[in-house]
Symmetry: C2
Subunit: 385 residues, 2 copies
């Protein structure tokens, strides 16, 4: 286990009706906030009204930025930052899923930055002053409600890049599983695939961390138990609650502290969704099994064996490759059961841009569990066609 500093100060109000604490908590940080959201669904399902009622009851003024995209764009970030500066906003209050939260995080950072917002994405070191972020989560997936990261798309350059800073971790998050009852089967599946991928990115590392790995397996088992259940029965509170809580812990640092590793599949997928605007979780579901098969070797078979035995309850066997391969097959089958595509063709991606995307992705894989060259990334993309 390597040295680390643990600090996850986000306060989480979890459960039915917890929104009733939003006004009081927000009043501790701000007299004027920026509401950030995507489409109109929060107005139809009553969440918008519940938030606004809380703000009114606590004399908190607000401005609004709506229309945040599924892959949030730099231009939207800039628009939000301009409102913050102009209207003297004191806190940013996103209502939505990971895209809305990510957008709000970079808005909160850009509000205290004089240059181009993109600077903060390509150089997180420039993030030095961030407005408090108070998040209302409506989708279990990215873990943005409790982590330090944000992914922004620069539509001008077709770059989709993650940035991060401890200052961007929300100060308070409201997580009501009932808010996710209306999430579609497809988005539920994609969200679950995203969480599982976050856990894989931490789990597959070359550093020892026994406790971390057992916890990662616990989180994976939770995704596997409840992902399909939530699709089959969208109002299953236990399923939605477990998925929502696991989404935070998949990526809030806990399972990766002490065993740092550079991520692999996320950077590869980010190229797909930057160029083709596909659903992030769908891209991950397509690529993950191919990546697993590609990196399976004498050097990694023990880890995949452990994954198979501990997560999929595959009986122990002297043939370690047999167990490892079965674990990968079951991973692929589970993504299918989640309603996810398994080939790039299914989401409209052909071979034309694979070399460009492979080049960009490979540049971000230094320090990964298994480092991959540009050619190897291209090979994985082609196998996924």
């Amino acid at each position: 286990m390597e040295n680390f500093v643990y600090s996850i100060p986000t306060k989480v109000y979890f459960g039915k009706g917890q929104i009733k604490n939003l006004g009081r908590e927000t009043a501790g940080y701000a007299k004027k906030v920026l509401l950030v959201y995507g489409g109109g669904s929060i107005k139809r399902n009553g969440i918008y009204d519940a938030v606004v009622d809380q703000l009114k009851a606590h004399d908190i003024a607000w401005e609004e930025l709506s229309g945040v995209e599924p892959n949030p764009r730099l231009t939207t970030v800039q628009k939000g930052a301009d409102i913050c500066k102009e209207k003297k906003i004191q806190a940013v209050l996103p209502i939505g899923g990971g895209s809305t939260l990510d957008c709000a995080k970079v808005i909160a950072a850009a509000a205290g930055y004089d240059g181009d917002s993109w600077d903060l994405v390509i150089d997180p070191g420039k993030i030095t002053c961030v407005l408090p972020i108070i998040a209302v989560l409506t989708l279990a997936a990215t873990g943005s409600e409790m982590d330090t990261f944000a992914v922004i798309t620069n539509e001008a350059t077709q770059d989709k890049i993650g940035t991060g800073s401890p200052l961007m971790r929300p100060v308070v998050s409201f997580m009501d599983p009932e808010y996710t009852f209306s999430v579609s089967a497809y988005q539920t599946g994609a969200g679950t695939a995203d969480m599982m991928s976050h856990i894989f990115e931490a789990y597959f590392s070359n550093t020892q961390g026994y406790m971390q790995d057992r916890v990662a397996e616990a989180l994976l088992k939770t995704c596997i138990r409840y992902g399909v259940k939530a699709i089959e029965n969208p109002d299953d509170y236990e399923a939605r609650a477990n998925l929502m809580w696991v989404s935070s812990w998949a990526i809030n640092d806990f399972i990766s502290l002490g065993k740092p590793v550079a991520w692999t599949v996320h950077p590869m997928e980010h190229e797909l969704s930057a160029y083709y605007d596909i659903t992030h979780g769908a891209g991950l579901a397509i690529l993950t099994p191919h990546w697993m098969r590609y990196v399976l070797s004498d050097a990694t078979v023990d880890k995949f064996y452990t994954y198979g035995v501990n997560v999929w309850n595959i009986p122990e066997d002297d043939d370690r490759y047999k167990v490892a391969n079965e674990a990968i097959d079951r991973t692929a089958a589970y993504f299918k059961a989640l309603g996810m595509p398994s080939t790039l063709k299914e989401v409209g991606i052909d071979a034309s841009l694979l070399p460009v995307m492979a080049k960009k992705a490979a540049a971000r894989l230094k320090g990964a569990y298994v480092e991959l060259t540009e050619e190897q990334v291209l090979d994985i993309f082609r196998k996924a066609l």
Copy 2:
């Protein structure tokens, strides 16, 4: 899963040599601190000097309270609180294991309280103002470094009672696994039994919490893997690091949030160590298997079955009691392997005070996984003789 509020803001510096950050962190909270410690071991092993060097380098003044007992006493708490008031102390800095940390926590609370310190133990609601606590941990066991609790013994009344407040959670904890290399085999075993008991107290509840339970199993597996290893090879860094990190997570709220339950075995053991001053972990190791056998019934067999399959890798079987009983047997055997006693006689406890202790313990079991009457607690005590 029930509603909850998650907030664990303790910052943890984990790993070799992290003490180098103590001066800078402490300076953020105080110009004058109270060092709290037990015997002289921290002076022999260099930890005291390392702390003092950090304070000097950052111009932080200090007072000292030494001689904290293994079951910390109210008189010691009062002595510490008096120093804090008299010397205008701004933060309390315990160096040691759970006893020292618990003592420091109540000192930090009593420093801001005008009445008798015992009031804060019997009525946690009176804890309203607590000096910041910065902990240096030298023993993996109680989890006091990241939790809200403290257990204090009133030697005048032979009461040993736990108190708690979110205000008593340390603001910063320093956890260097190398500090625990010198912990004796017996204390390592007792510490591991204590952690396992903390996890059991949360795990055996009547509320659903799938993710929480899988994480609890992950923590139990970590205790089981490394407890005996650390005894066999005291300088095994991975073993010490895993035990140290799991000690915090066994009790910092994470695995019990959403599935609250009143504790059972701890309150029972507190009576033993209040009357006989035995090692807490040893008392837990004696009582736990007897408690498990006593509460095993048609209502609880499924949980013990799951425990056996998931934690002890016992093969699934149609005979659920067979698996449950084997799980309990293996728990008892593991405590023995940790060098723990398995009968009360071994620690010098005879039948004479069992009725008195049973009466006191039973008064604290309302809302437990299986509620027990005074007679039932006495029965368990007798079986443990």
